[in-house]
Amino acid sequence: MLDKIVKKLETATKGAVLEQIPVDQDDRLIIDKNMIHQVCRTLKQDKEMDFKLLAELTCVDYIEEETRFEVVYQLYSLSNKYRLRLKARVAEGDSIASVSDIWRVANPLEREVYDMFGVKFNNHPALTRILMWEGFEGHPLRKDFPLKRHQAIVPLRMEIEVKDDPPYNWTKYQKKRKLGLDK
């Protein structure tokens, strides 16, 4: 099934599939981020592949690699009963095309990726924070965001001296940076 899909994608969208990884019941394709929209449209509209259900749209932060974020799409084909995972790497500050015009469920899921990681989606109807409140600074699920940061929703009446987080709240990556071990 994975070979058939890759063949069809090669004819419809050249050069999109960078790598294919077949695993039992967990096939993955690594897609070039600039062509993700054409790939998703092909996968949904092709009558044989028919990936009508977008089960999951999320992101992983690989902070120690060059292109930091990997946006993960989990597709499901009801007629073939087949799951497929697409992965696309996005660099920090970069943006990726939104698939919310292909599957409407991508609208809240992409808002959550933007909220938690800071990955921007082009042509999204309303890319605003969904879980954190408006005015929240930072993107919580990034690896360099500390676990226990206090941020007031209502501005504090008095100026509080903002101290650095204590060491036991630092993530592994913050420890490396603050102790200078990443040089």
Partner: protein
């Protein structure tokens, strides 16, 4: 019918669209969801859904705790069906490790997941009927759920936050006398369901409030990402247990009820029928339950029993490493989905070979349905929001993790 906009002398009354907010704390939006509605009279013109009031940072916390310590977090996702969440998370991590439980372990996982499905559906139907005014049904169904919670209490010590699974097996096996308890409990559940449904299923008021309310077509439902009873009410028969079977589901015989109109009444009927089917599955599973362990043999992943720990040096070393470092999960990633009471509940787990998970993502089963509430409620009346909201079974813990 005279136009309500015109007053007695035939002049038009000025009217604006009324914006009303079914605020975060509202008895009918159980869990915390803010609905900003725009009304014209009683008709809902538009609606905007705001969530995020219960966001507890599940995914961030999972990256700072051990694989097995995250089990208690998964309890608190869909807190009405905790055993199902535990089993799904454990199965996803076991997929990375490439291990499969022995037969008895898979059967026990199946049994506790189906018990949790009965509990969740009872609560969902009870709560939505209570919001329409049928308080007695709520009492009967919650009492029925008590019987099942008593059994879960005997298995693992907790009623709600069970934490039954571990990576590589179940922490608690079924006890002696489980079969008799189940037979007695199911008799009470069936009696409660019969008493309750006699009051509402053919009740004129209930039928009028639920029939043709919150309708959605099959195509729209799939496009909006619905799964579970809400999707099956539109006519699509996607059930992960039948489509991509896991554990021991190929060996049990059950039916998947589907509706045809996609409205609230179909979802109510589907949930009642699914309770019946789950009880049928558990009866078959009890007959087929083999002897054996409920955990795997590899004690680098599952905590070894004390006989191994105290009597062999490898057992001691494995015990030490698991307690200090956590299970030896290799580098990799996996997505594993089960049919939870709400729909397809999957975990996308990434491991970098270390002692802590790199990324744990729980698919929020009720997020597509909650964010598609405007589609379900537009054109209806404001009073129709209440049964619609109840029928999608929004659980706050799972929506916002």
């Amino acid at each position: 019918m005279s136009d309500p906009q015109k007053d007695i002398e035939g002049k038009e009354l000025p009217s604006d669209v009324m914006e009303i907010q079914l605020g975060p704390s509202h008895p009918a939006t159980h869990g915390i969801v803010k609905l900003d509605t725009k009304l014209s009279g009683e008709t809902v013109l538009d609606m905007d859904v705001s969530i995020g009031f219960l966001h507890r940072g599940f995914e961030k916390m999972c990256e700072h705790r051990d694989w097995n310590q995250n089990m208690v977090f998964t309890d608190r996702l869909n807190y009405c069906s905790a055993p199902a969440n535990n089993a799904a998370y454990a199965s996803a991590v076991e997929k990375i490790c490439g291990v499969e439980l022995p037969d008895r372990g898979q059967w026990v996982r199946l049994i506790v997941t189906e018990i949790s499905r009965v509990c969740d559906h009872l609560v969902c139907v009870a709560a939505s009927v209570m919001e329409l005014g049928g308080f007695s049904v709520y009492l009967y169904f919650i009492q029925a759920r008590e019987e099942l919670w008593f059994i879960l209490d005997k298995i693992c010590g907790s009623r709600l936050t069970t934490s039954m699974s571990r990576i590589g097996g179940q922490a608690y096996d079924l006890y002696d006398g489980f079969e008799d308890d189940i037979v007695a409990a199911f008799a009470k559940v069936r009696q409660a369901m019969e008493d309750g449904s006699k009051m509402i299923t053919r009740n004129r008021i209930f039928y009028d409030r639920m029939r043709d309310v919150g309708k959605i077509s099959e195509e729209d439902a799939i496009d909006l990402g619905f799964t579970g009873p809400v999707l099956r009410s539109t006519g699509c028969d996607y059930d992960v247990r039948k489509a991509n079977p896991y554990w021991k589901y190929p060996e049990v015989d059950f039916e998947v009820p589907t509706g045809d109109r996609g409205d609230n009444y179909d979802r109510y009927l589907i949930r009642m029928e699914e309770i019946e089917q789950s009880m049928h599955i558990i009866d078959q599973a009890i007959e087929k339950l083999p002897e054996g362990n409920v955990f795997i043999d590899d004690f680098k992943i599952f905590l070894s029993p004390k006989s191994e720990t105290y009597n062999s040096i490898e057992g001691l070393i494995h015990h030490f490493k698991i307690i200090m470092n956590g299970p030896a999960v290799p580098k990799g990633e996996a997505y594993f989905a089960i049919e939870s009471p709400n729909g397809e509940h999957g975990y996308y787990v990434v491991s970098d070979g270390g002692s802590l998970p790199y990324r744990v993502r729980a698919r929020p089963t009720c997020l597509p349905m909650t964010m598609a509430l405007p589609e379900l409620c537009k054109g209806g009346m404001i009073a129709d929001i209440v049964p619609t909201f109840g029928s999608i079974n929004m659980i706050g813990g799972e929506l916002e993790r």
